[in-house]
Every structure is written in structure tokens, then in C-alpha cells.
């Protein structure tokens, strides 16, 4: 059966909780009259996937695709199913990846489709002499760098094999393909879209290529102790491998942007980045995140009088990208400014226990143990009524639900200048700005600036109240879930109508 919308997801709903997952859940729930199929990209079967959401009845199908499940070599035959000519095409394709160019997905699709079973595929692409020779041809591009061959070889395998596997995925027939990020997900969407003729929509919350780039260049795990001597060591000799990885994701984004009918971005800064990465400006549209205001508007806020302890709330994961250490350091400054405060750091810490422990250590080291409390995972709405200001100190963000929710409740906000934080707190258009500021935006990794902003809010409860109201007004006007969902419904409707007028061939 052909579903209305095929969502192509990786690392999110329904198996991982987070911002994008919330958004996907909202879409599915809100559009209960539309059937959704899900293609979920996972690493491998050993990674046990557990549903984090109850699947609504309008999710008709889930197809799991494992990109890093590689079968062992099980034959000794060196038989080749693919011709020399096809391998030449594959080499061209792989060279495009090295350069970060857009990719010819259908060409590879037709080639990999010739390999019927998983073991045939692996024999050809991982263990055959042709694959080896192709890798050697590609290695010539790296020869000027004195690149270690082992590092090259593993990069080669892990850059190319998952992608080849991806392009073997069984096509899920649908009227619309909609991916919640670029990368592998949108690439699969681009392939499905090209083969079936149904349009591809891409909603990008962060900027996938930039996130990967941070991850790759910031990769301290690369030379960590846990890495075995034979493992990939990108830090040594050459950065060419890191570039290669970055270019892979760049290739994937560009390929997807080229195919997509519409690209949605949450806020202005992201739209600008997408265009810089090759997206056609005409096709990029901003649809922000939204929250269900009814839950927040009735919330009673804490009334702070002069002399009461100032309560600061951080709501979010404890993870390096959130730079919680920056916040802790700023609290040290705040204490030295003489502000009597209590900080609640609320959110799950199981994602990166090591980082969490480093944070605890920092709190102890700065003698803040009495002032800072780590609560673990919390019910957000309850806690918003107990704090005077909400804060995030991330080095990277999309459009954070934390600010929308604080705004819904009328709590002022202090955030670092990343993602949509400035747009949310100060406004973007003229009309938006005229509402007034909902708090302060401070530079990234500047604990002192952050402390000064917090102190300003602490010193004037009236001003703080006013900023909370401003933030609430802004959220009500632009970030109401009903509004946002209506916009998506319209987008879907346009696609459906187009198809009615020009019926496409169905697989």
C-alpha cells in the first residue's frame, strides 16, 4: 500500500527523544487524517532500539534500515557480478564524495540493485578484488599527503559502504517523502523521490553538515586511549581524512538540496547556512517550531520579592554541545557579584556520563555545591513555575524548545547567541522586534557576560517580569503549535494537489 507521507528519519523519533522527535510526534499527531510510513535509519542490530513514543494509528508502517551491519566474508570466490565499466562509474561516484560534489544516486542505485542478497553485496563491495583496486585508485588522490594506508582503508570502507547499503534500501511507495534532516535520511529521500517521481521535502532543524563538521574536527575520541592501535587515527599526519568525512556529508546535503521540492528551515540563520551550502534560495522556507500553548498559559509563576533567593533554571540535556560548564563558570562569577542564587540544572545526564561527572567536579572545585543542584530528568511544566529565569549556554542550537516553553510560561530567558536564540529573545522582523526583548543574548563561551546578564535580571524583578511577558507575547504570536502545523498541512496539501493534477507513475 502506498502511504501518504513517508518520513525518513535517523537518530530521532520514535527511538530517540529530543527536539526533532518532539516535532515529528507533533506532525503525526496533528495530522491524524494522513497516513505516515516511517523509514528509520539505524547503525546496527546490536544497538537495541526501544520505542520512546506510542505510535499513533496513522503510522501504518515502519521500515528499519541498518547501515552499519556488515556480514562477514562467507565465500572464497572472487566472482564479480559487476562489470569493469560499472566499477569505473563507482570510482567516479566515490571521487565525487572526496570532493564534496553532488552525487548521481540513480546510477549507483541501478548498479547496487543488481546485487540481490546482502552477502552478494558485501562480497562485491567489501571483499572483491575490484573493490580493492577501486580503493587503490582512490588512494592515489591521497598519496601526496603521506597518508597511512590503514587509516585510508577504514575511512574508505566506512564512508562508502554504508552509503552503498543505503542506496539498496527497498523503496517505500509514498505520495510525499519527508526527511527530518539532511545526511543519510534526505539522501535516501532523494533517491526514492527520483525513482518514484514523488516530491521530497526536507525539514532541517539544525544544519546537519555543520554538526558533523563539529563532531569530526572536534573529535577527541580519535586519539583517545580507548582507540586500538589499528583504529583510524585522523589526527596523525593529515587532515585529509577529516576533510573526506566532512565532504561526504556535504555531498549528501547538496545532493538532497538539489532534489528537494521544498526545504524548511526553523529560522533565518539556518536558511542562510542552507543557501550557503548549495540550497536554492527559492525553495527554502522558514517554518519554526511550535508548542502547545494551552499547557503553559495557565501556569502560575513564582513571585519573587526583594531579598528572596534568585532561582536560575537550566532545562536540557547535560552534554558537551550544551556547554553546561560555561554556565557553571558563570555562576561562580555571579556569586562573586554578590547575588544570592540557587541554580537548578535539570535534565538527563545519561548521554555522556563522563561529561556529567566533569561538571560535578567543576561545581565542587568552584565551591558551588551548596548553590547548584543537579535534579536529573524533570517534568518541565512543573519546574517552570519555580524559577525566576531560564538559561541555556550551548555552543550550538537549533530553535530550542526550552525558550519556547519558558516563553509560554512567561519566564525570561538568557541564552548564548547560537541558532535561533537571538530571534526568539529579541525578535527577527520589525514587527517582531517591536514586541520587546524577552531576556538577554550573550556571546558563546563567555561566562562573565552570562553572569552579567543573569545579574541584571536578578537585580530588577519588575524588569524580569516584563521580559517574561514579552517572550510570552512573541511565542503566542509566532510559535503556536496550531499555527505551525497548519503551515505544514498546507505544504502537504500543495503536494497532494499537484499530484492529482499530474499523476506520477506508481511503483
Amino acid at each position: 500500500m502506498r502511504c501518504d507521507v513517508c518520513l525518513i528519519l535517523e537518530g530521532t523519533y520514535p527511538y530517540v527523544a529530543g527536539g526533532v522527535s518532539t516535532w515529528v510526534a507533533q506532525i503525526i499527531e496533528y495530522m491524524s487524517d494522513i497516513n505516515f510510513g516511517i523509514v528509520y535509519l539505524a547503525a546496527n542490530k546490536r544497538e537495541k532500539l526501544k520505542l520512546k513514543y506510542d505510535l499513533p494509528v496513522n503510522v501504518t508502517e515502519i521500515q528499519l534500515v541498518y547501515l552499519h551491519d556488515f556480514s562477514k566474508k562467507n565465500t572464497n570466490s572472487n566472482a564479480h557480478k559487476l562489470s569493469e565499466h560499472e566499477w569505473k562509474d563507482i570510482l567516479c561516484f566515490q571521487k565525487s564524495i572526496v570532493k564534496g560534489e553532488p552525487l548521481d544516486l540513480t546510477m549507483i542505485y541501478h548498479i547496487v540493485s543488481k546485487l540481490e542478497t546482502e552477502s552478494e553485496f558485501m562480497q562485491e563491495f567489501a571483499y572483491s578484488k575490484m573493490a580493492w583496486n577501486t580503493a587503490l585508485s582512490l588512494y592515489e588522490d591521497f598519496s601526496t599527503e603521506q597518508a597511512g594506508f590503514l587509516d585510508f582503508f577504514w575511512s574508505y570502507r566506512f564512508i562508502n559502504l554504508p552509503l552503498m547499503k543505503l542506496l539498496r534500501t527497498k523503496i517505500m511507495p509514498a505520495k510525499i517523502y519527508h526527511s527530518a534532516c539532511t545526511g543519510y535520511a534526505s539522501t535516501l529521500g532523494a533517491l526514492f523521490s527520483t525513482i518514484t517521481g514523488s516530491p521530497l521535502l526536507i525539514s532541517e532543524h539544525g544544519i546537519y553538515t555543520r554538526e558533523r563538521r563539529i563532531e569530526i574536527f572536534d573529535a577527541d575520541w580519535i586519539c583517545g586511549e580507548s582507540v586500538t592501535p589499528l583504529a583510524l587515527d585522523m589526527s596523525r599526519k593529515s587532515n585529509k581524512f577529516k576533510e573526506w568525512w566532512v565532504n561526504l556529508f556535504f555531498s549528501l546535503s547538496r545532493t538532497s538540496y538539489n532534489t528537494a521540492e521544498q526545504i524548511y528551515s526553523l529560522f533565518w540563520a539556518n536558511k542562510r547556512d542552507q543557501i550557503a551550502d548549495g540550497a536554492d534560495a527559492e525553495r527554502v522556507k522558514i517554518i519554526p517550531n511550535g508548542i502547545d500553548l494551552s499547557k503553559f498559559l495557565s501556569l502560575s509563576l513564582r513571585q519573587r520579592n526583594d531579598g528572596d533567593t534568585f532561582v536560575i533554571g537550566y532545562i536540557g540535556r547535560i552534554a558537551p554541545i550544551k556547554d553546561v560548564k560555561n554556565l557553571i563558570k558563570s555562576l561562580d562569577h555571579l556569586k562573586r557579584f554578590g547575588v544570592d542564587f540557587k541554580a537548578l540544572i535539570m535534565g538527563p545526564f545519561d548521554e555522556d556520563i563522563e561529561y556529567y561527572e566533569e561538571c560535578l567536579e567543576l561545581v565542587r572545585g568552584l565551591n558551588l555545591s551548596a548553590d547548584v543542584e543537579f535534579t536529573g530528568r524533570v517534568e518541565v511544566i512543573e519546574k517552570l513555575g519555580m524559577i525566576d529565569v531560564s538559561v541555556i549556554s550551548s555552543i550550538s542550537e537549533g530553535l530550542p524548545f526550552a525558550i519556547l516553553e519558558a516563553g509560554g510560561a512567561g519566564v525570561p530567558f538568557v541564552a548564548t547567541d547560537v541558532g535561533a536564540c537571538r530571534e526568539l529573545i529579541e525578535g527577527s522582523t520589525e514587527e517582531d522586534i517591536s514586541i520587546g526583548r524577552g531576556g538577554y543574548v550573550v556571546p558563546v563561551s563567555s561566562p562573565k557576560e552570562l553572569a552579567i546578564a543573569l545579574k541584571r535580571i536578578a537585580s530588577s524583578p519588575e524588569k524580569a517580569h516584563e521580559m517574561g511577558q514579552n517572550l510570552r507575547d512573541r511565542v503566542c504570536r509566532y510559535y503556536d503549535l496550531n499555527n505551525v502545523m497548519e503551515q505544514y498541512r498546507n505544504e502537504y496539501r500543495k503536494c497532494f494537489e499537484k499530484e492529482l493534477m499530474h499523476p506520477k507513475c506508481v511503483l
Binding site: K73, W132, L150, A180, I216, V227, T228, P229
Partner: protein
């Protein structure tokens, strides 16, 4: 943040590379000393007892001895290969506590199966009960001796092994002589078997001393027996290939040592026996050279692979292995080839000196050359196993067995004047085919090293 798919860390932290250190070579080196001791002891015993036994008794004793050595070597061949591999893997992860419990298990299995095999043969063959019982004890003991050698190779304590062998064979000679003196054939057989049993017990107790362990029994090796079919085949086929021509010549000459399937050894064996003695020194030297020099080059190669060398550097190391190997072989060809050449030339004088029939001249010359070829074949198999190309090793051993069976049958029954040429030709063909494929694998070494790396966890 949006759709963070997979942590790259998970992708890459799996550079598990099954580095492999094999003990095949040690096993082979270490076996030659005891082998020489065995041969010499049996010779001494034969001379000592010459006047104490009737000719027919003497022939039957020799027949049982030869059957025992043939049977135990073929029987333990597959176990030898796979168990060596298991121990090498265990020692690679420094798990020495597994050695003794594995020995207990393998020894138990060996005793059970060697009892079944030898009982079936001797009883169905119709040997007198008291002789059969002694022959069975002998078979179990010698089999256990080979098994114990596998484990003692792990200790790499060459001198103590040789000492124990010396003591064991001294006992065997003394008891055999005493037995022959009082009870003739029965006596010598029981005496010799008892000596072998003492040797097996002494070797086993060395293992208990060397590798104390709390674990009672370790059956992990069974998995290797099941999962390494080519290695098992190689062990079986190689040892069978070495014996099948002898067996065929016994049947062809049809001299019976006793009623039933007890064919007496013939002159053909005697020639091969002396031919083997001539290659032992050179073989030992070469095997030690492999262990020291070849291994170093191979380790260098693996070091370059894992140390992040460029492809060109890795290729150089690969070539270095190859040239080192050929250097060793060319030396062997010169030294052993020269020795064998001289032996072929002076063969008539040797026959005269050792008072052997003059018509053996052709056979003796063929067997000198055949023994040399077989030594080269063994070296090739060992090197192939060093690279862990089990399938190739197994196939080549099977090829040698098949060819030797066909050729020896043809020459034994139809061209008896050319005795020995069958074994020579079959091993020569297997050697040449093997070298062709070995070279091809060697050319592809880097390809195989990399593509065989597992994707890990």
C-alpha cells in the same frame, strides 16, 4: 539537535585485527630431535636383540613398530594442527592457564580414540591376544607422546624435552632388551611399550609442572576442531601422504609378518628411512631460520600495516618477506641440494658399505631426492600456515596424498624397477603447484591482509 545519526566513534573503534602467532614452526623444530632419538633407539634395540629373537619374531616386532608410528602420526596429525592453533591463540592473549586443562581433555580423547582404533585393528586383524594388548598399549602411549609434544612445544623448553626423550627411550631399550631376553617377542613388545608409557607419563608430568592451572578441564579446543576443517584435513592428508606409498609397497610385495593384515616392512622403507635421516639436519636449520628471520620480516610487515604506514612502505615490507624467504630457500637448495647430490652419486658405495642388496640402487637414489622434495614441501606447508592460508595448505596436502596414491600404486604394481619415483613425482608436482599458488597469494598479501579485517563490534 537534529537527526544525529551515528556516533562516528562507534564506526571506527573496531580496528580489531586478529594478529596471529603460530607455533607450527616450533612444533616442527622440536619434533625433529625426539624423532631422531626414536629412530636411533629402535635401531639400537634391533641390533641388541638380533640374536635373542627368531627372524619371524623380529620381523613382526618391526612391523608392529612401523604400524604404530604410521597409525599414531596420521591419527594425531589433524589434532596436532588445530590444537597448536588453539594454544597459540590462548598464549597470544597470555592465557597460560588454559594449557593444562586443554591437555587433560585432548589426552583423554586421544586415549579413548586410540584405544578404539588400535583394538579394532589388532583384534580384527587376528593378532594373538597378549601381543595385541601390548601393541594397543604401545599405540596409546606413542599417540599420547605426540599429543604431549604439542603442549610442550608451547613451553619452548627444547633441552628438557630431549632429556625426557632420552630417559624414555633408554627405558624402552632396557626393558625391551630384558623382555626379549626372558620372553622373546612378547617380552620385547611389552618391554618397549612399557618404556613408551613411561615416556608419555614423564612428558605429561612436565606439562603439569610447566603450566599449573586451577581449571579442571577445557573443551574449548573442540570448537577449533570443528571450525578449522582445512587445517584438520591438512594434518591428516599430509601425514597420510608421507605413508601411503610405503603401505602400497608392503601390499605389493605381500610379505606377511603374521597372518592377517600384517605386512612386513620392505627394502623400500629402509631406503626412505635412511633418506629421511639425511635431510633432518638441514630441515632443522631451515626451520629455526624461519622462526628467527622470517618471523621478523613478517612482524615488520604487520607492524607497518598497523602502524599507519603508506601503501608504498607496506609494499616494501611485503617484498622484503618474499626476498628473505627466497634467500633462505636458495641457501637450502645449495646446501641440502649439494648433500643430496653427493649421496645420489655415492649411493652404490653406501649400499656396499651397509651390506644392502645392490639392486636397490635405483630406489635409493630416488628416495634421496624424494626426501629432499618432501622436506621442501613440508617447509612450504609451514610457511603457508604461517600466513594462515589453511585452505591452500589443506588442498595441497590432499593433492600430494592423491598423487602419491595413484603414482605409487602404478609403479609398485606395474613398474617395480622404478620404486620411489612415484613418491618423488607426486611431491614434486604438489610442490610446484603449491609454489605457483603461494606466489599468487603472496602477490595478493596486502589485499588479503586488509580485506580479511573484520568489521568488529
Amino acid at each position: 539537535m537534529a537527526g544525529i545519526g551515528f556516533k562516528l566513534r562507534n564506526i571506527i573503534s573496531n580496528g580489531t585485527y586478529a594478529s596471529l602467532i603460530t607455533a607450527y614452526v616450533y612444533g616442527a623444530v622440536i619434533s625433529t630431535g625426539p624423532w631422531l632419538i626414536s629412530i636411533i633407539s629402535i635401531g639400537i634395540l634391533a641390533v641388541l636383540c638380533h640374536s635373542l629373537l627368531l627372524t619371524q619374531e623380529s620381523i613382526l616386532f618391526r612391523t608392529i613398530l612401523v604400524y604404530t608410528y604410521m597409525g599414531t602420526l596420521i591419527f594425531t596429525g589433524p589434532i596436532y594442527m588445530s590444537t597448536t592453533r588453539y594454544l597459540a591463540d590462548k598464549m597470544f592473549i597470555n592465557d597460560y592457564s588454559a594449557i593444562l586443562p586443554t591437555f587433560k581433555f585432548v589426552a583423554r580423547q586421544s586415549i579413548i580414540y586410540s584405544t578404539i582404533i588400535s583394538s579394532a585393528f589388532y583384534f580384527i586383524g587376528g593378532l594373538q591376544v597378549n601381543l595385541a594388548l601390548a601393541a594397543i598399549v604401545l599405540f596409546q602411549s606413542v599417540a599420547l607422546t605426540w599429543i604431549a609434544m604439542i603442549f610442550l612445544s608451547a613451553a619452548r623448553d627444547f633441552t628438557s624435552i630431549v632429556k625426557v626423550f632420552g630417559i624414555g627411550y633408554f627405558m624402552a631399550i632396557a626393558l625391551g632388551y630384558a623382555g626379549a631376553y626372558y620372553y622373546r617377542l612378547e617380552g620385547i613388545l611389552w618391554g618397549f611399550a612399557t618404556g613408551m608409557m613411561i615416556l608419555a607419563v614423564l612428558l605429561s608430568s612436565r606439562i603439569f609442572q610447566e603450566f599449573p592451572s586451577q581449571v579442571r578441564i577445557d573443551k574449548g579446543v573442540v570448537g577449533y576442531w570443528k571450525n578449522l576443517p582445512w587445517l584438520m584435513l591438512c594434518g591428516f592428508a599430509y601425514n597420510s601422504a608421507l605413508w601411503v606409498d610405503k603401505l602400497i609397497y608392503w601390499i605389493a610385495e605381500n610379505k606377511k609378518a603374521a597372518p592377517g593384515p600384517f605386512y612386513a616392512p620392505v627394502n623400500y622403507d629402509t631406503c626412505f628411512f635412511w633418506a629421511y635421516v639425511t635431510i633432518v639436519p638441514a630441515l632443522t636449520v631451515f626451520l629455526i631460520r624461519i622462526e628467527t628471520s622470517f618471523y621478523k620480516y613478517y612482524a615488520d610487515y604487520l607492524g607497518a600495516v598497523s602502524g599507519g604506514a603508506t601503501l608504498e612502505e607496506i609494499e616494501e615490507k611485503r617484498k622484503a618477506i618474499n626476498s628473505n624467504l627466497w634467500l633462505s630457500i636458495s641457501r637450502l637448495l645449495k646446501i641440502q641440494g649439494g648433500l643430496t647430490g653427493v649421496l645420489v652419486l655415492i649411493a652404490p658405495d653406501l649400499l656396499l658399505y651397509f651390506k644392502m642388496p645392490a639392486d636397490l640402487i635405483v630406489t635409493l637414489r630416488y628416495t634421496f631426492i624424494a626426501a629432499f622434495i618432501q622436506a621442501l614441501f613440508l617447509i612450504m606447508i609451514i610457511v603457508i600456515l604461517y600466513f594462515d592460508w589453511q585452505r591452500l595448505a589443506g588442498t595441497l596436502a590432499l593433492l600430494a596424498l592423491t598423487l602419491n596414491t595413484i603414482f605409487s600404486y602404478y609403479f609398485a604394481f606395474y613398474k617395480s624397477a622404478y620404486s620411489g619415483i612415484g613418491a618423488l613425482a607426486s611431491f614434486l608436482i604438489a610442490l610446484l603447484i603449491g609454489m605457483y599458488y603461494f606466489n599468487r597469494h603472496m602477490e595478493d598479501l596486502i589485499f588479503e591482509t586488509f580485506t580479511s579485517q573484520s568489521f568488529g563490534s
